[in-house]
C-alpha cells in the first residue's frame, strides 16, 4: 500500500494554485482543516482568485475567515454565512461573489460530482431564490429543479484518525461534509489529528477509503492555542 503522508508545504504547493476550486470540509469547527487553512493564510501572496466550496463562512478569524479577509477568494459557495459579518459586508459591497445553496442540496451536488452523476432533480427550493437561474423540468406532473454536480480541484478535510494510506475516520459530528467532498475533487489532502499505521482502523469502520486520498498531513494545534487569542 502507498504511504501518502507528506509535509504540508509539499502537499499544498503540489496541488493548490491560484484559481483553484477548493472544497473545504467542516461544519462549525468540526472537520475543518485548520492547519492547512492557516498555512494558506500564511502564504496569502501565493494564492489568489480561489473559489471555495464550504458549508459555512467560518468566523472572521477562524478557518476560511482569514482567506476571505485577505482577499484570496473570488467566490464562495456555501449554505450559511451568518457567523461571519465581515464576509457578509464584503459580499454586500460586491467585493466577493457568494452562491448560497440549501445544505442538503449542497451535499447532494457534491455527491453527484463525486459519483459521476451530472445532475439530479429536486423540489427543494422551488419557488424561492434558491431556484434562480436553474433549469427546471416537468416529471410526472411536478416541477423540479435540475441541480448540477459540483466538483473541485482540491478537497481539504480534517479527520480525527487517518492511516498512512489515507483511510480516514471521524469522531462525533466532525464527519459532516468531509467524506463527500473528498469524493468530488481531483486531489484530496487529509489533515489528520492522529496518523496511524495501515490496518489500525477496522476496514468496516473506515469512513473514507484511501483510494480517494492523495496526501495525508499532520494536523497541528490551532494557532490560537499555539500563540495568543486571535485579533
Amino acid at each position: 500500500m502507498i504511504d501518502r503522508t507528506v509535509p504540508i508545504d509539499a502537499a499544498v504547493s503540489r496541488f493548490i494554485r491560484s484559481g483553484s476550486v477548493i472544497m473545504v470540509g467542516g461544519f462549525g469547527r468540526g472537520g475543518v482543516p485548520f492547519t492547512i487553512l492557516e498555512h494558506l493564510a500564511d502564504h496569502a501572496d501565493a494564492f489568489a482568485d480561489l473559489t471555495l466550496i464550504k458549508n459555512d463562512a467560518s468566523e472572521p478569524h477562524l478557518g476560511i475567515g482569514p482567506l476571505l479577509r485577505a482577499g484570496m477568494v473570488k467566490k464562495l459557495i456555501a449554505t450559511h454565512i451568518g457567523l461571519n459579518p465581515e464576509f457578509i459586508g464584503q459580499m454586500n459591497r460586491g467585493e466577493v461573489e457568494c452562491e448560497l445553496v440549501p445544505q442538503g442540496i449542497f451535499a447532494e451536488r457534491i455527491r453527484a460530482g463525486g459519483a459521476g452523476i451530472p445532475a439530479l432533480l429536486t423540489d427543494i427550493g422551488v419557488d424561492t431564490e434558491a431556484a434562480a437561474g436553474k433549469p427546471s423540468v416537468r416529471l410526472d406532473g411536478e416541477t423540479y429543479l435540475v441541480e448540477r454536480a459540483l466538483r473541485g480541484d482540491v478537497a481539504l478535510v480534517c479527520a480525527d484518525r487517518v492511516d498512512r494510506t489515507g483511510n480516514a475516520w471521524w469522531r462525533g459530528s466532525n464527519r459532516n461534509m468531509c467524506v463527500v467532498m473528498a469524493t468530488a475533487c481531483a486531489r484530496v489532502i487529509v489533515e489528520g489529528k492522529q496518523i496511524v499505521e495501515a490496518g489500525a482502523i477496522q476496514p468496516e469502520d473506515v469512513q473514507l477509503p484511501g483510494v480517494f486520498v492523495d496526501a495525508v498531513v499532520q494536523a497541528q494545534p490551532r494557532r490560537h492555542m499555539r500563540t495568543e487569542a486571535p485579533a
Partner: protein, 234 residues
Amino acid sequence: MTQTRAPMQDEERIARRAALELRPGMLVNLGIGLPTLVPQFLPADVDVLFHSENGFVGMGPALEDGTPDHDIIDAGGRACTIIKGGAFFDSLLSFAIVRGGHLDLAVLGAFEVSIKGDLANWKIPGRLTPGMGGGMELAQKANQVLVVTRHLDKKGRPKIVRECSLPLTARHCVDTVITERAVFRRRDGALALISVHPDHTIDSVLEGIEVPMRVIEPLQSWDQPPESPEGVGA
C-alpha cells in the same frame, strides 16, 4: 441542546409551550436560537429523539459538569452529547433522513410567516443574510413544522403577515406558530388562532395582524397538548 444563558421570560414561555408539541417517539430537529431552548422543558418521561442536521440522531444535553466535547456539536456549533442508541453520520444521510420523510417535527425560527404558512427565515436583503443552511429542507420536508418566535418583530409588527415580503424559505410549510401571546395552527390552508396565553386576549393577539384570522372557539387552554397525530414515531 445546551443553553448558554437563562431564557428571558417570553422565550421561556414559548419554549415551555412548544415542548408540549413534542410527543413520544418523535424524531425532532431544532433550529438555531429559540428552538434550542425547548428540550429543557420536556418531561423526563417523554422519549423524543433529536436530529442534528450536521450529522447525528440522539442529541443530548451538554455534560452536566460543564466539560464541553467540541467533537459533538449541534447545528449552532455548541458542544452537546449523544445519548445511548444515537448514531453519527454524514451530511448526506442527515438530509436523506429529512427529505426521505423520517423527520416528524422541525422547530424553526422565523422572520415572517404568512397566513397561508409560507416561511421566511433566511435573508433580509441588504441587511442580514445568514443563509438558508438546512432550513429549506427542514421547512419543506419535515412532516410537521413548528415555528417558535416572538410575537412582534423589532419594529413592533406582528411576525404573521398576509404575504411574506422577505425571500421565502418554503411555501405552505408552517403547521403551527407559537409566540409568547398565542398558538396558531394551519387549518384548511390558513393559520387560525387556537390558544391565547392568560396574559393576553384575542384582541391583543390579533392587533396589527393585517389579514383576517380565523379564531377557533372555544380556545384551547394554554397548556393543552396537541392531539396525537396518527403514525408518529420513527
